[in-house]
C-alpha cells in the first residue's frame, strides 16, 4: 500500500515542473563543481609536492651535522590536500596548511636558538579585492539548494491534497494514515533522489575520467558515506515539509512558513550564532602574545645571565647550563605558541558547537570530516605534527648517544655530536587520516542529524494522525 502511494507520487512528480527545474539546477551545479575541481586540484597538489620536496632537500642538507640538524629542526610540515576537496571546501583558504618547525635564529656568541613549532595564521583576504562568495561544493549544493528543493517537494504533499479534496477521497479507502504519510515521504524522497543521484554520478564521472585526480578505494568509501549523509539530510527537510504541510490547511501558508524557517535556520542562523558566540571567549591577542613572549625571554635571561655569554674556559658545568638555556628557550616558546593556538581553536570549537543548531552546519561539518577538509582535518593535522616533533627530538638525543666523543649536552655546539646523520634513518612525517577517528568526531553530529530526523518525522506523524481532513 505504501509503495502504491509512493509510486503514484513519483509519477506525479516526474511530470512536474519542479522535477525538471531541480534536475537542471543540480546538473549545472554539479558540473560547475567538477570542472572547478579539475582545474584547481592539480594546482593544489603541485604546490604541495613542491613544498615537501623543498623541505626534504633542506633537511637532507642539514643532516651533514647532527648539531645543525638539532638546531635548525625538521623544517615545515604541510597538510596533504584532500582529493575530496570538491565535497566540502571547508573554508580551507582561512586555515593554514603549514606548521613551521624552524629555528627562531637568535645568536649569542656560539649559541644559536633551537627550533620550535610555530603556527602561522593566514589572512588571505587582506589583499583580496575580489567579491567573496561561498564555494560551490557538495556541502553548498546539498546544504542549501537540495534542502530548499526538498521543501518545495513536500510543502503541498498533504495541504495540497486537502485543498483539492483528494485527501478525503484517499482516506475514505481503507488506507491507514501512516501509510499515506510514509508513501508521501518515500515518493518525495525518491523523486528528489533521482535528479540528485544523476547529478552526483555525472559529477563523479567527470572527475574520475580525468587523469589528474585519482581516487582510491578508501576515498570511494568516504564518498559513499557522504552520499548517505546527504540523503539523511534531505530526509530531514522532507520530514519538516510533511510536518508543516500536515498542520496547515492551505499549501500557500505551509510554503510561507517553510521558506521563512528555511531562511532563518539555514541562511542566517550559522553566521549570527557564530558572531554571538565568538564574544564569549577572547584568545590572546597579538600584543598580549608579544608581551608574554618578551617577559619569558627576560626571565630566562635573568636566570642564566652568568652562562649565556660563551666563556673561554670550556668547563662542563657552563656548557651544561648553556644547553639548558637553549632547550628551555625553545620549550617555553613552543609552549606559548601552543597555548595561543589552543585558545584560538577553543574559540572556534565553541562557535562550531553552537551553530549545530542549524542543520546546514551539521551537514557541512559532517561532509568536511569525511572529505578530510576543514577545521577537524586541521586539528588532526596538528595532532600528527606534535608527536612527530617529540619523535624528532628523541631521535636527535638517541643519535647523540651513539657518538662516544660527544658530551651529550643538547643545545651547545661543542657539547654535541658533529657526525653525519643518515637521511634515511630520520623519522619521516606522515600526515595520516583514519576513518575511525573521523567516525568518532562525526558521531555526535551524525546522531544529532538522526535524532532531528526522527523528531520531525514523528512530529509529522502525530500531526497527520490527529489532523481533521
Amino acid at each position: 500500500m505504501i509503495w502504491h502511494i509512493a509510486t503514484r507520487e513519483i509519477y506525479e512528480n516526474l511530470n512536474s515542473l519542479r522535477f525538471g527545474l531541480t534536475l537542471l539546477l543540480l546538473l549545472a551545479l554539479m558540473l560547475t563543481n567538477a570542472v572547478t575541481h579539475l582545474r584547481e586540484h592539480p594546482k593544489r597538489m603541485q604546490k604541495y609536492h613542491d613544498a615537501i620536496t623543498n623541505t626534504r632537500n633542506a633537511l637532507t642538507a642539514r643532516a651533514d651535522n647532527l648539531y645543525t640538524l638539532a638546531q635548525k629542526g625538521p623544517g615545515n610540515f604541510y597538510k596533504t590536500p584532500s582529493p575530496l576537496h570538491f565535497c566540502a571546501e571547508g573554508g580551507e583558504a582561512f586555515i593554514p596548511d603549514v606548521v613551521r618547525g624552524e629555528s627562531h635564529s637568535w645568536r649569542r656568541g656560539a649559541l644559536k636558538s633551537f627550533w620550535r613549532l610555530h603556527y602561522p595564521s593566514v589572512r588571505p583576504n587582506l589583499a583580496n579585492i575580489r567579491p567573496e562568495v561561498t564555494k560551490v561544493d557538495w556541502g553548498f549544493i546539498v546544504g542549501y539548494v537540495l534542502s530548499l528543493t526538498a521543501l518545495l517537494f513536500t510543502f503541498d504533499a498533504i495541504a495540497g491534497e486537502r485543498e483539492s479534496g483528494t485527501l478525503r477521497l484517499m482516506l475514505a479507502n481503507a488506507i491507514p494514515r501512516h501509510a499515506v504519510l510514509l508513501g508521501k515521504f518515500l515518493g518525495a524522497l525518491i523523486s528528489l533522489l533521482i535528479p540528485f543521484t544523476l547529478a552526483t554520478l555525472m559529477n563523479l564521472l567527470v572527475i574520475s575520467t580525468s587523469r589528474s585526480v585519482q581516487l582510491t578505494a578508501g576515498e570511494w568509501g568516504r564518498l559513499g558515506i557522504i552520499f548517505i549523509i546527504a540523503i539523511l539530510y534531505v530526509c530531514l527537510f522532507l520530514a519538516l515539509g510533511l510536518l508543516v504541510s500536515a498542520r496547515m490547511q492551505r499549501s500557500a501558508v505551509s510554503l510561507v512558513i517553510l521558506l521563512l524557517a528555511w531562511v532563518t535556520f539555514v541562511v542566517f542562523m550559522p553566521s549570527t550564532l557564530a558572531t554571538i558566540v565568538r564574544g564569549f571567549s577572547s584568545p590572546m591577542s597579538r600584543a598580549e602574545f608579544q608581551e608574554r613572549r618578551g617577559q619569558l625571554d627576560t626571565a630566562l635571561k635573568e636566570q642564566y645571565r652568568e652562562y649565556i655569554r660563551i666563556r673561554n674556559t670550556k668547563r662542563y658545568a657552563v656548557l651544561q647550563e648553556q644547553g639548558a638555556y637553549v632547550t628551555k628557550d625553545a620549550q617555553q616558546h613552543e609552549r606559548l605558541n601552543r597555548e595561543r593556538l589552543a585558545q584560538e581553536i577553543q574559540q572556534v570549537k565553541e562557535a562550531r558547537a553552537i551553530i549545530r543548531i542549524s542543520p546546514v552546519a551539521l551537514v557541512q561539518h559532517l561532509m568536511e570530516t569525511f572529505a578530510g577538509t576543514g577545521f577537524e582535518r586541521h586539528l588532526q593535522f596538528l595532532e600528527n605534527v606534535q608527536p612527530y616533533a617529540r619523535q624528532f627530538r628523541e631521535f636527535i638525543i638517541e643519535n647523540d648517544g651513539h657518538d662516544a666523543e660527544s658530551l651529550h649536552l643538547i643545545g651547545v655546539p661543542t657539547g654535541m655530536s658533529q657526525r653525519k646523520v643518515e637521511p634515511a634513518a630520520m623519522p619521516r612525517f606522515k600526515d595520516t587520516r583514519s576513518l575511525n577517528r573521523d567516525f568518532n568526531t562525526a558521531a555526535v553530529d551524525l546522531l544529532l542529524l538522526v535524532l532531528l530526523f526522527i523528531a520531525l518525522m514523528s512530529g509529522a506523524y502525530l500531526a497527520f494522525v490527529r489532523a481533521e481532513i
Binding site: 531541480t22 586555515i95 595564521s121 587582506l126 589583499a127 579585492i129 561561498t134 560551490v136 565568538r278 584560538e344
Partner: protein, 502 residues
C-alpha cells in the same frame, strides 16, 4: 477607480498570513543581527582606538627621524553594519614610509581578532535584505494575476470598465506599499538600536546615506516583485507560478552568484603586464642607483661606501632593494640609525648628512616615479579583474543591490581606496614637513647622540569619509540600473497581460 482597486488590493495583502509572517521574521532577524553587529563594531572601534594610541606613543619614543614609524589606522565604518563590503576584509593598518607610496595591498590587519574566525561567514543587514526581501516580494507576487485568474475574480474585475493597465498599476502600488512596511519597520528598529549605542555616533550625512540604502532597498524590492508578477502573468496556474518563482529566486539569489564566481575563479593575473611593469620599475631604480654612485664618486670622503662604514650602538644599517611580483610593491630601503656612535666615526657625520640631503629627496622622487607605473599596472592586473567579476555579479539584481548599498555605505572598493588616497596625501604632507625642517640633512635623521627628533609639530593624520554626494554619485549607476530593470519588467508585464486571455 484606481484608488478603489488599490484599497482592495491593500486590504487583500495586509490581511494575509504571509504578511504577518514576513514582518515577524524580518523584524526578528534584523533586530537580532543589528545587536550582534553593533557589538562587533564596538569591538573593532575599541581595537582601532587602542592601535592609534599605541602607535602615537611608540612614535614619541623614537629618537631618530629615520627610525620613526608613522602608522596610520583605518577606522571602521559605522555603516558597515548595513553592508560590510570590504571594510572588515582589507587591511586597516598602514606603515607610512618616505621611500614607497602606500597602497591597500601593503596594509596589514590590526585587531584582536582570531584569524580562524574567518571560517564563519560574516553577515550584515544588507544580506538579510537581499535574501528575505526578495523572497517576500516573490511570495506576494506569484499569485497576483495567476491566482485571480484561477479563481475567476480577474474576469469579474475586468468586466467593469477597468483598464488592464490600471489594474496592474493598482496591484503594483498596493503590494509595494505592503512590502514597504517590513522594510521601514526593520530599518527603524535598526536605527533605534544604532542611536542608543554609545560607541556609534551617526552624523546627519550618515542618515542621508541610510536613506540612500532605503531607496536602493525599495528599488530592489520592486525588481523582485515585478519578476514575480511577470511569472504570474505568463503562467495560468498558481502552483506553476509558485514553483517557477521559487526556482528563479533560488537561481538568482543562491546559485548564480556562487556559480558564476566558481567558473571564473582564475587567480592568474596577466603575467606579462606585471612583468613589464616590474621591469620598468627596476630600470627606474637602476637609474637611481647610478645617480647615487655618481654622487658618492664625487664626494671626497675617503674609503667610503654607502654606509660610510659607521658602526654604532643601539642601531642598524640596512641597504636593500625588494619587490613583490604580485602586488608590484617595490622599495629601496636604506636606513642608518644609531643612538650613539664611536668617536672615531664622528668625522663621517657631516658627510653622511650631506649624503642624506641628496639621497632621500632622490629616493622620494624615484618612489613617486615608480608609483605612476605601478598605479596603472595594478589597475590592469588586480583591479580590473575584480571589477569584471563585480560587473558579472550584476546580472542578478542581488549583485546590483549589493553594489548600490556598498556604495552608499562607503564600504566598496572606492570607499576603502579613499582612505589610501588620504594616506598618500598625508605622506606628501609629512615629506613637506620634513623638507621644511631640513630633517633629511639633519643629524637627528640618523643619529640621536646630541639631540633627539621632535615629533610634537608633526601634522596629525585624520581620515574623514567622503561627503554624501560622492556616495550618491557612486551609487547612482546601480540605482538607475535597478529602476531601469523595474521599468522594463513593468512594460513587459503590461504587454503580456494586455494580450493575454482572461
Amino acid at each position: 477607480m484606481l484608488t478603489t482597486l488599490i484599497r482592495r488590493e491593500l486590504l487583500d495583502n495586509l490581511m494575509t498570513f504571509r504578511f504577518a509572517a514576513a514582518l515577524l521574521v524580518m523584524l526578528l532577524l534584523v533586530v537580532a543581527n543589528t545587536a550582534v553587529l553593533i557589538n562587533d563594531y564596538e569591538r573593532r572601534l575599541g581595537d582601532y582606538n587602542t592601535a592609534v594610541k599605541t602607535n602615537r606613543q611608540e612614535l614619541q619614543k623614537k629618537k631618530m627621524y629615520a627610525d620613526g614609524e608613522i602608522v596610520l589606522n583605518r577606522p571602521p565604518n559605522p555603516l558597515s553594519i548595513f553592508n560590510v563590503g570590504l571594510d572588515k576584509r582589507l587591511g586597516n593598518e598602514l606603515w607610512l614610509m618616505y621611500n614607497t607610496v602606500p597602497t591597500l595591498w601593503e596594509a596589514g590587519m590590526n585587531g584582536s581578532d582570531n584569524p580562524l574566525l574567518n571560517l564563519f561567514s560574516a553577515i550584515d543587514l544588507g544580506f538579510i535584505f537581499e535574501v528575505v526581501l526578495s523572497l517576500i516580494a516573490l511570495m506576494f507576487a506569484y499569485d497576483a494575476l495567476a491566482g485571480e485568474r484561477e479563481r475567476g475574480t480577474l474576469r469579474l474585475v475586468l468586466t467593469n470598465s477597468v483598464s488592464r493597465g490600471h489594474l496592474l498599476l493598482a496591484k503594483y502600488i498596493s503590494a509595494m506599499t505592503c512590502l514597504l512596511v517590513p522594510v521601514v519597520m526593520s530599518l527603524l528598529f535598526a536605527l533605534i538600536l544604532l542611536t542608543t549605542s554609545a560607541a556609534i555616533s551617526l552624523r546627519a550625512d550618515d542618515f542621508l546615506r541610510i536613506g540612500g540604502i532605503f531607496l536602493a532597498s525599495i528599488a530592489y524590492l520592486s525588481v523582485f516583485y515585478l519578476i514575480g508578477l511577470l511569472i504570474s502573468a505568463i503562467t495560468h496556474r498558481t502552483s506553476t507560478a509558485l514553483m517557477l518563482a521559487m526556482f528563479v529566486w533560488g537561481f538568482l539569489v543562491l546559485v548564480y552568484p556562487n556559480m558564476m564566481l566558481a567558473t571564473l575563479e582564475t587567480s592568474d593575473i596577466p603575467q606579462e603586464r606585471a612583468a613589464s611593469a616590474l621591469n620598468h620599475i627596476k630600470q627606474i631604480w637602476e637609474e637611481f642607483d647610478r645617480e647615487r654612485q655618481r654622487f658618492l664618486a664625487a664626494d671626497a670622503f675617503p674609503g667610503e661606501d654607502s654606509k660610510f662604514n659607521i658602526k654604532g650602538y643601539w642601531g642598524y644599517a640596512v641597504e636593500s632593494y625588494y619587490q613583490n611580483r604580485l602586488t608590484l610593491f617595490n622599495i629601496y630601503d636604506r636606513t642608518l640609525a644609531f643612538d650613539e656612535i664611536d668617536e672615531e666615526y664622528q668625522p663621517a657625520v657631516p658627510h653622511v648628512q650631506n649624503y642624506h640631503r641628496f639621497l632621500i629627496p632622490l629616493t622620494i622622487q624615484t618612489a613617486d616615479r615608480t608609483w605612476l607605473i605601478r598605479k596603472e599596472a595594478l589597475v590592469d592586473t588586480l583591479v580590473r579583474q575584480a571589477n569584471l567579476k563585480r560587473t558579472l555579479l550584476k546580472l542578478s539584481p542581488l549583485g546590483v543591490y549589493d553594489a548600490a548599498t556598498q556604495a552608499w555605505a562607503g564600504t566598496n572598493l572606492l570607499g576603502i581606496r579613499d582612505f589610501f588616497d588620504a594616506a598618500r596625501q598625508y605622506r606628501q604632507t609629512v615629506i613637506t614637513y620634513y623638507e621644511d625642517k631640513d630633517a633629511f640633512g639633519a643629524r637627528e635623521w640618523f643619529l640621536a647622540d646630541k639631540s633627539a627628533a621632535d615629533w610634537s609639530t608633526l601634522p596629525q593624520f585624520s581620515f574623514e569619509r567622503r561627503s554624501v554626494e560622492i556616495n550618491a554619485k557612486r551609487a547612482l549607476p546601480d540605482m538607475m540600473l535597478l529602476l531601469m530593470i523595474s521599468l522594463v519588467l513593468f512594460m513587459a508585464i503590461f504587454l503580456i497581460f494586455v494580450r493575454s486571455e482572461v
